[in-house]
């Protein structure tokens, strides 16, 4: 699969799973996209560790250090899987995977070269000595426990936005 095809498939499948999908071809366009995705007056948690996160963090006037107090988490994630439209969050590098769980809105930035074709490719890459936590996230939190009717945002985020950069 070519890089462009992989990204297209990933974005298509993520959208099917009810994630908001965005793509920036130049990292300098990231702030503009974030500006559209994240409301500016909400408390945002952003680790500010990677280059992309550093670029993002500067945008948010109300930045909090405690993800439990945030309404939005903006972070760069480990990778993604095109087959299922999944983003992959890992605990390596001191990351709090639950930062993408507690706030109502999760904004995940994924580098396009970190998109795996399939689940097999992902697990082949992590099967040796996995970090404490690998979480595959496909769309927002959901349930169908009442009459098998879909409801969004049970315990995890009710909104997931993915930005491929």
């Amino acid at each position: 699969m070519s890089g462009a095809d992989r990204e297209r498939l990933f974005l298509k499948n993520a959208a099917i799973a009810a994630a908001g999908t965005h793509s920036v071809s130049d990292p300098r366009d990231l702030p503009a996209t974030l500006g559209r995705v994240v409301a500016s007056d909400l408390p945002v948690y952003c680790p500010g560790v990677t280059e992309l996160e550093k670029a993002a963090a500067a945008l948010f006037p109300v930045r909090v250090d405690d993800y439990a107090a945030a309404t939005v988490t903006v972070e760069e994630v480990f990778g993604a899987v095109a087959e299922t439209g999944t983003i992959v969050c890992v605990s390596a590098g001191g990351r709090a995977v639950q930062a993408g769980l507690l706030p109502a809105h999760h904004v995940a930035i994924v580098r396009r070269e970190r998109i795996f074709d399939t689940l097999d490719d992902l697990f082949a890459a992590v099967s040796g000595s996995p970090p404490t936590n690998i979480t595959l996230v496909t769309g927002p939190s959901r349930t169908a426990d009442i009459e098998l009717t879909l409801a969004i945002g049970v315990h995890g985020p009710e909104r997931l936005d993915i930005i491929v950069a």
Binding site: L101, P131, N133
Partner: protein
């Protein structure tokens, strides 16, 4: 609360269920929805049969080498920093978990959905020890509030409609009545968020345990599984020994099959792979991780003729298509596991003497076999248990006499024709003896049977 097994009263349970119009409507709607969603989810999978073969082969390998994989898992998980406990039976599992929790002074326990914890009746035991146990899966939360047990292994409150849930929440939580599932979900989110943040411990199950890495895999949608395993300082996982997979590279096959089979999703919202507790430099994970490996009769099942049931990955597809399950719901089966897989597992785990009517709770229509993602030969297993029921003398004595007569007649044309003639001649008597349920639903034998009409 504790739930006594009522499998021996299966027929009475079904009669009651059949009279419950709300239940029947809920079950019918659920079964139809499941059927469509599952079919749609699998439609684009080009090599489904090969995928099922692969998953089935992995599960067979696991069963063929189960002690080795369990040992490997124990070693890897220990290396990753988890503490492993082996529980021989339900009471050992309850004791172990209660001890872990009470030694650490845990008072408020948040729970993720776990059928194994239902199997060992964990909640009532912890509650008796003075702990507050909060089920956090929405369906489990609903039935815990109602004092019921799950009626489906994936969708525990499938037997309830939105109006019943709306009234329950209004009564118990003091919120204004609503029957909008989205609004009810928000109410539960708010109530349970406080519980997560203040919990002393999380108790979860696991869908798979990975032998090579010592990882636990949880396949979920709501996010409560992630909360339970990562927010409280202490995480206790309980799982049965057969949930092993050799390696993480075996996982994709199951991630392609399980959500599609269970809920008709291509992928669930979340898949968590947890390897040990929080380590130095980590900002994720419980500080302490205890894994309780439950046997509870599995080693014995493994050595017997019904071992293939241990291939089961608990997707629930077999019950969704089962004509019996979809008509009477899960509670009629009288124990933790309902539907075709439940017939087999309940009989094996609780004993024929406590469950023998269940083995007759199948028309052998084979719909379950057709959908099972890992090719568990459910109807063959049910037939095998029926043979055991007969061998162990749990079958009805009148039926036994009838079948013995049948065996003789089927092997002897003279007797067979005699039987046919007698049935014809005395049909009103047969009908009266057979009752309205059986002979009353059959036509009278033909005056001249086919064999005497042949030119």
């Amino acid at each position: 609360m504790s739930h006594e097994q009522t499998s021996l009263a299966f027929r009475e349970n079904t009669v009651r269920a059949l009279e419950d119009t709300a239940l029947r409507a809920a079950m019918k709607q659920a079964a139809d929805t499941f059927g469509t969603k599952r079919a749609d989810a699998f439609a684009p999978v080009a090599d489904l049969e090969a995928l099922r073969d692969r998953a089935s082969a992995i599960r067979e390998d696991v069963l063929a080498n189960l002690p080795m994989y369990v040992d490997r898992f124990v070693a890897s998980a220990t290396r990753a920093g988890a503490t492993i406990h082996r529980a021989k039976d339900a009471s050992a599992a309850r004791e172990i978990i209660a001890k872990i929790l009470s030694e650490r002074g845990a008072k408020r326990i948040v729970k993720g959905k776990s059928m194994v914890s239902e199997e060992v009746d964990l909640n009532s035991h912890l509650e008796a020890a003075g702990m507050e146990v909060v089920e956090t899966d929405l369906g489990e939360y609903i039935i815990q509030m109602e004092g019921e047990s799950p009626s489906h292994i994936i969708v525990p409150a499938i037997h309830k409609n939105r109006r019943q849930v709306g009234r329950l929440f209004a009564d118990r939580l003091g919120v204004p009545y609503t029957e909008d599932p989205q609004a009810l979900t928000k109410i539960a989110r708010k109530a349970l968020r406080e519980k997560f943040l203040s919990a002393d411990a999380g108790v979860s199950g696991a869908n798979f345990a990975v032998a090579d890495t010592g990882s636990l895999v949880l396949v979920t949608n709501e996010g409560n599984g992630r909360m339970v395993t990562s927010v409280p300082p202490l995480h206790v996982a309980i799982l049965s020994i057969e949930k092993m997979l050799p390696s993480l590279t075996d996982l994709p096959a199951f991630l392609r099959l399980l959500p599609r089979s269970a809920t008709g999703q291509t992928m669930t919202s979340y898949v968590s792979v947890i390897t040990g507790p929080r380590k130095a430099g980590d900002a994720t994970g419980a500080k302490e991780l205890h894994i309780v490996l439950l046997d509870n009769g599995r080693t014995e099942i493994l050595a017997g003729e019904s071992r293939d049931i241990l291939k089961c990955i608990r997707c629930g597809a077999c019950m969704n298509v089962c004509p019996v399950y979809r008509t009477v719901g899960g509670h009629a089966y009288g124990w933790t596991y309902p539907g075709p897989m439940g017939i087999v597992l309940t009989t094996l785990l609780t004993g024929m003497e406590k469950s023998h009517p269940l083995v007759d709770a199948s028309t052998l229509c084979g719909a379950c076999v057709e959908v099972c993602p890992v090719r568990v030969p459910l109807t063959d297993l049910i037939l095998g248990l029926r043979q055991r029921k007969v061998r162990d003398r749990f079958s009805n004595p009148r039926e036994r006499l009838g079948m013995e007569a049948f065996g003789k007649a089927a092997a002897s044309p003279g007797l067979f024709v005699l039987g046919q003639r007698l049935a014809g001649a005395f049909w009103p008597v047969v009908r009266a003896l057979g009752g309205k349920d059986v002979a009353g639903r059959m036509p009278a034998p033909a005056k001249t049977p086919f064999r005497r009409r042949l030119p």
